[in-house]
């Protein structure tokens, strides 16, 4: 008897068999359903809290960035501060404000708020230094406590009306100095077809092997659909010289695939979610820098570790083994726009090739080993020379 025929007979013999449980299971089922309902309500409440926390986090983050955006003007005011000490201890805050308003004293445009804060800080400096003045009457020369005009120390430096230009030049130099360290947040999506479906007729080989094909094997079909990968990451860059920099970071990638098995009057849908954590290593060549817009080329490799694998058949979670380590290489052309000295927006259209890792798990990387992608992100620039 052929294997297929034997299997069919066995299946038919047992298909209507029923066995009563020895105990009533319904009580336990009902108790679990009640528990799950309570847990679901708790989860909804938790999600609301998480959304609220995320909004607060974004608000704080934005405030932090704005504050840092204004920060470079403050050191210039700080340079000015000590200079008032000796000669202007009797000046009112208004007078100080008026002085601070003098464009010769402040290189970069400052807001009224900055000037006021400078005045307040000035007053604090005056208070702090007032006591030592009284305690040091025996100093041989009061001028000795004052910085000399050619002293390089910024704390003790007193800008003269003729000096603002020099201060301005120093600030300019600081802002346009090559940045040594960058950090970035980005999101990445592939630009291939939205639905890459593969229709695979599974019964052709089996039909050749077995003459007595079972009914379910006729019109048996498997379909695969792989959604575009979505990645989020944190990257860091180190400038090697004016033209080259190396970058690394951490990238999270999520892959979602749907496998549909079609049989007469039956359809089994299996959803597969794979979560990867990757570490890229890239070399970046800066081609052009013009009015805050930069153009660069990036090339490098990436290793992705499958940190979690989920499978769900018809709404039921199943155990799934993790994928093997996934290696890839890629290149991209990047355009960067510096919104503020510390923050840039960038877009990197590129191409990436994923090597076959030899695992049995089908995913987007195997279906489309070479694909185009677009990375959009924010880049934070830190000047390590500060």
């Amino acid at each position: 008897m052929k294997q297929e025929e034997w299997a069919e007979r066995l299946n038919n013999h047992l298909k209507d068999y029923q066995q009563e449980p020895t105990r009533d299971l319904w009580e336990g089922i009902e108790a679990s359903l009640d528990k799950q309902a309570r847990g679901h309500a708790h989860l909804i409440a938790m999600r609301r809290w998480l959304i609220a926390a995320a909004i607060i986090g974004i608000m704080f983050g934005s405030t932090y960035l704005l504050w840092h955006h204004e920060a470079p003007t403050q050191p210039q005011l700080a340079v000015v501060k000590p200079s008032h000490h000796a000669e202007q201890t009797d000046k009112t805050p208004e007078a100080l404000t008026a002085q601070a308003d003098d464009p010769r004293m402040i290189a970069a445009p400052a807001t009224e708020q900055h000037i006021q804060s400078a005045a307040v800080e000035q007053a604090m400096v005056e208070e702090a230094t007032a006591i030592p003045q009284k305690e040091e009457p025996t100093l041989p020369d009061e001028k000795a406590t004052l910085p000399k005009e050619d002293t390089p120390s910024p704390q003790a430096h007193r800008p003269l009306p003729a000096e603002p230009k020099a201060v301005y030049q120093q600030t300019e130099r600081q802002q346009h100095e090559p940045l040594r360290l960058t950090m970035g947040l980005f999101a990445q999506g592939n630009t291939n077809d939205m639905n890459s479906k593969n229709g695979v007729m599974m019964n052709s080989n089996m039909m050749l092997r077995h003459t007595a094909a079972r009914a379910y094997l006729l019109n048996y079909e498997e379909r695969e659909s792989h959604d575009q990968p979505v990645s989020f990451g944190l990257s860091m860059g180190f400038k090697l010289n004016k033209w080259l920099s190396v970058g690394t970071g951490v990238v999270y990638t999520k892959l979602h695939s749907t496998f549909t098995t079609l049989m007469p009057n039956q359809q089994i849908v299996r959803n597969q979610k794979l979560h990867y954590l990757g570490v890229p290593l890239n070399l970046q060549a800066h081609l052009l820098q013009w009015h805050g817009i930069g153009l660069y080329l990036t090339a490098g490799g990436q290793a992705d570790w499958n940190i979690k694998a989920e499978a769900n058949t018809d709404g039921i979670d199943q155990v799934m083994t993790k994928d093997r380590l996934q290696w890839s290489v890629g290149g991209s052309l990047g355009v960067e726009y510096r919104v503020i000295p510390q923050l840039s927006l960038y877009a990197e259209p590129g191409i990436r090739h994923y090597f076959d890792n030899g695992s049995d798990i089908n995913n987007y990387f195997k279906d489309k080993p070479t694909s185009f992608n677009l990375q959009l992100g924010l880049r934070f620039n830190f000047n390590t020379n500060k």
Binding site: M1, Q3, W6, A7, R9, L10, N11, H13, L14, D16, Y17, Q18, Q19, E20, P21, T22, R23, L25, W26, G28, I29, E30, S32, L33, Q36, M202, M206, R214, Y216, Y220, M263, N265, Q266, Q267, I268, T313, D314, G315, I316, Q318, V319, T321, D360
Partner: protein, 179 residues
């Protein structure tokens, strides 16, 4: 409620009586599936209970495709749960000393279904899984190979061995009950 569609509609509205009715209607089938995979009755009952919790939780996602589709879906969930249970609690093993297959195939229809189910449950875990997946879940050898982490050719050859083992058990049973 006479048909699956009415039952399904009531369950989706949160009707606990309809849920109980679903359980009562299909618990026997669920138990018979579990008993083919898991040798211990108490373990089977735990798996069936867990399966119905999952079924009633996920029933909102079920796409009704005509009378019998709900039963098919329930049976698949129970089979998947039982498969996972065996995978987690037993080592998937195959044995080398397979008895020679009798020349004549026994008339399996002469063996009561509960006895035949118990025979399947007595097979070594690897054979039991392959036989269940191939005969009752209609999985291809490729799918079985993926699920068990074995080669596709191994799935085919081990199925033949599972059949040999089961045939020997059936032949012995028939011999015992003929005399």
């Amino acid at each position: 409620m006479e048909n699956e569609q009415q039952l399904l509609s009531a369950i989706k509205q949160g009707d606990r009586t309809a849920m109980r009715q679903l359980y009562e209607r299909y618990k026997g089938y669920a138990m018979s599936i579990g008993l083919r995979y898991i040798p211990e009755l108490s373990d089977v009952e735990d798996v069936v209970q867990d399966s119905f919790v999952t079924i009633l939780t996920a029933i909102g996602k079920f796409d009704y495709r005509g009378e019998g589709s709900l039963k098919g879906w329930i049976c698949r969930i129970v089979a998947n749960k039982a498969f996972d249970f065996v995978k987690q609690h037993e080592r998937i093993t195959f044995v080398d000393n397979i008895p020679d297959a009798p020349n004549d195939e026994p008339e399996m229809e002469h063996i009561p279904p509960d006895v035949l189910t118990a025979m399947i449950a007595k097979l070594p875990p690897g054979y039991r899984m392959i036989l269940n997946l191939y005969v009752f879940e209609h999985c291809s050898h490729r799918e079985i190979a993926n699920k068990l982490g074995i080669k596709e050719s191994s799935s085919s050859s081990q199925l033949s061995r599972a059949r040999q083992l089961l045939t020997k058990m059936m032949t012995d049973y028939i011999k015992r009950h003929e005399t």
